[in-house]
Symmetry: C2
Subunit: 377 residues, 2 copies
C-alpha cells in the first residue's frame, strides 16, 4: 500500500474578533433589558429572571478569552445577537466557499501544488451552507481543480473523518491529490442569548492537502501511520435545524427558545461521557500501531474545553501534559468545531523533528471521535 | 488489492402514493383559487394568471405516472401543499433514520449479515434531516452496528459517491463491512405550487451492503470493477435552504417564492448540459476498464427524466436502448434523487447471469455524476 502524507495545511481566520468582555457586555445588556421588560412577571414568580454572565466565569469554565467571528456587529447588538451576513446572488461565492478558498490557497502553496493538481475536493464541516450544489463543488470550481468533490458532515469530527476518506481514496487510487477544507461558521448556529453556550464557539476554516508520498513535492511531509474512527449516538449535543422543519408544527418542548434549530448541549453529560470515549480511542489506536503514549511528542486535540483536553491527555499519558505536549488554541479561537484540531496542528508542529510522532484527534457531537497518527518525515 | 463486492441491497417505499391525476387535481384547485383571488390584478395586467397543468403533460414531459410519498394528505391539500410530518422528540428515531433502518434490514438479510457485522455506516443523500448528530450515527445506533458512521451529500449522485467511499474504505482496510443508506424525502424540499417541478420527485430509501469478496457469505455478489466520479459546478439546480439563511435579509430576487429554500432548476439547461457530461463519463469509464458499450448488459441509470435517460443510453450505445437494457422505474417512483439508480439496480438485476456486466450511474445537482461498473460473480 502506498504511503499517504499530509503535505500542506492552511488556515483562514475572519478579520473580526470578540473578547469575553465585549461578549459579556452585550449579553448582560440583553439580560437587563429582558428582566426589566418582565419585571412584574418575575416579581409575581410567573417568569424566571435571566442571570448575567462575566468574562471571568467564561474563561474559568472554558479557557476561552476571545474568538474570531464573521460578523462582530450583528452578534454584539443586544437587539439582534445573530451575525449579519448579506444575501448573496447565485453568481457570487458562498460564505463557506470564500473561507475555504483562502485556507486552500495557503495549504496548496505549502504543498507546492496548484489547484490544477487537485483531483478530489472534500468539504467536511459541522454545518453546510445549503442542500445543493455541494459546497465542495463550488470550492473546486472557484479554485479551478479537476476531478470530483463532495460534502460530508460528522460535526466536530468532520476533519479527521475527512482525512481518513482522503487517505482511503489515495490508497485505493481513486484520487492522486486531495484537498480537504473545513469551513466552520459556528456563530451561525449558536444561541447568543443562552448563558451556558453563547461564548463557546468561534469561526474559522482550515485546509489540508494529502498525497501519496511518492507523488509529493513538499519537503515537509507528515506520514499518516493510521486512522481510527468511532461513533456512539447521543442526544446530548443536538441541532435540529433541517429541511423537514417546515413539515411539522411547533418546535416547543425540550428544545428551547430556538426550537432546537441551534446548537444545544448537556455540557456536564458530554464532559463525563466523551472524555473516556476519546481517551480509550487514542489508547487503542496507539496499541494498534505498536506505540506507547510516551512515543507521542504532541497531541493536537479538538479544542472545545481546556479542562476536557487536560483530562484526556492525563488519561492517555498517565500524568499531566504540558502546554508544549498538548497545545491550546482555545483561548484565541474558542471552539471552531472540525477546524480546531487542524488549527492546532497548523500552528504547533514547526518545532518537531524528523521521526517525531503526533496524534491529531477530534471529538464532539454524534458522539463522534477520530484519531490520526502522524510521523514527520 | 482485495476485490470489493456488493452483497445486498434494500428498498423502503412509503405506504402512500400520489398519481399524476390526484396531483393535478390539487394543483389546479390551487391555481383556480389563486386566479380567483387575484382576478382584478390579473384583469389589470398587474399580476400573471397561473396556468393549470394536466396528467398528460406530466407524463409526456417526464415519463412519470405516480410517486410514493411520506404524506399524501399534506401534499394534496391545496391550502397547504407541504407534507405534514409530526414533530418527533429527541428520543424517537428521525424520519430519515426510520426509512434507512427498513431498507438496511432488507439489504443486510440479502447479504447474510447482521447489524453486528457492520463496522461503517454511511448516510448519503441530497438533504440531511439536521446538522447534528449525524443521521448515519442514529442509524448505526438504531440497528446496533459498531465502528463509525458519517453523513455525506452530493445531491442525486450521493449513492454512487457513497459506493466509492465504501469501496475505498474496504480496500484501505478502514472498514470490513459497510452499510450505505440513501434516505430521500424529496417531497420535503419540493415546491408543490411550481407547475414546472411539482411533479418530478418522490420519496424512497435504498440501502447497499459492501464487503471484501473473501469476507462475503452471500451467493449473489456484484464485483465493483471500478468507479469514476465527476463534478462541474452549476447554478442550474439549486436549493439554498441552510443554517445561514437566518443571518441574511430577504430571499427575494431570482430565487422565487420559496426564497430559494426549495428545489429549483433551469430544466432545459440541465438537460442540455448533463446529457453529454454523463455520456462522456460512462464512455471514458468503459474505455478505462477496457470494456466496449456492447459488453454492458444493463444500465441502471439515475431516474430523473425518461427522455434524458434514452438520450444518454443512445449516446453511449450508438443506438436506442430497449427497456430491458436501460430499465425505467421513473413511472412508478418519479425522481427519488440518490435512491433512483439503486432502486433500478435493486429491481432489475435478477435475470442477469454470472459474468454479466452493468453500469450503475447517477447524475444531478452540482453538477455531479458517478459511474460504478459491476460484474456478477
Amino acid at each position: 500500500m502506498p504511503t499517504i502524507v499530509i503535505t500542506g495545511t492552511g488556515l483562514f481566520t475572519p478579520a473580526e474578533s470578540v473578547s469575553n468582555e465585549a461578549l459579556v457586555e452585550s449579553f448582560n445588556t440583553f439580560v437587563q433589558r429582558y428582566n426589566d421588560a418582565h419585571a412584574s412577571e418575575i416579581e409575581a414568580g410567573e417568569c424566571e429572571a435571566l442571570a448575567p454572565s462575566s468574562a471571568e466565569f467564561i474563561e474559568a469554565a472554558s479557557g476561552i478569552r476571545r474568538r474570531y467571528v464573521v460578523d462582530r456587529e450583528g452578534i454584539l447588538d443586544p437587539e439582534r445577537m445573530v451575525p449579519r451576513l448579506r444575501e448573496r446572488s447565485d453568481e457570487e461565492p458562498g460564505v463557506l466557499c470564500e473561507m475555504s478558498v483562502h485556507a486552500a490557497r495557503e495549504a496548496l502553496e505549502a504543498a507546492g501544488r496548484t489547484p490544477a493538481d487537485v483531483d478530489c475536493v472534500i468539504a467536511a464541516c459541522s454545518n453546510l451552507e445549503r442542500a445543493y450544489p455541494a459546497v465542495a463543488i463550488e470550492v473546486q470550481d472557484a479554485l479551478g481543480c479537476g476531478g470530483y468533490a463532495y460534502d460530508m458532515n460528522v460535526a466536530c469530527s468532520s476533519a479527521t473523518f475527512g482525512i481518513q476518506n482522503a487517505a482511503n481514496a489515495l490508497q485505493a487510487g481513486t484520487a492522486r491529490c486531495v484537498l480537504l477544507v473545513n469551513p466552520e461558521v459556528c456563530t451561525g448556529h449558536l444561541d447568543f442569548r443562552d448563558r451556558d453556550s453563547h461564548f463557546i464557539f468561534g469561526d474559522a476554516c482550515t485546509a489540508v492537502v494529502l498525497e501519496r508520498s511518492d507523488d509529493a513535492v513538499a519537503d515537509e511531509r507528515w506520514e499518516i501511520l493510521g486512522t481510527r474512527l468511532s461513533t456512539q449516538f447521543s442526544n446530548n449535543i443536538r441541532n435540529d435545524f433541517g429541511f423537514l422543519n417546515r413539515t411539522s408544527g411547533s418546535h416547543a418542548g425540550s428544545r428551547g427558545d430556538s426550537g432546537g434549530r441551534l446548537f444545544r448541549q448537556q455540557g456536564r453529560k458530554v464532559f463525563k461521557e466523551v472524555v473516556p470515549m476519546v481517551a480509550a480511542l487514542i489508547t487503542d489506536h496507539l496499541d494498534q500501531l505498536g506505540l506507547a503514549a510516551a512515543d507521542v511528542s504532541r497531541f493536537w486535540l479538538h479544542q472545545a474545553n481546556l479542562a476536557m483536553n487536560q483530562l484526556i491527555a492525563r488519561r492517555v499519558l498517565g500524568r499531566d501534559a504540558d502546554e508544549k505536549q498538548a497545545p491550546v488554541i482555545l483561548d484565541e479561537f474558542a471552539n471552531t468545531s472540525s477546524a480546531g484540531s487542524v488549527i492546532c496542528f497548523h500552528r504547533h508542529r514547526a518545532d518537531l523533528g524528523s521521526g517525531d510522532v503526533g496524534i491529531l484527534c477530534s471529538f464532539g457531537a454524534g458522539y463522534s471521535a477520530g484519531s490520526v497518527a502522524l510521523r514527520k518525515h
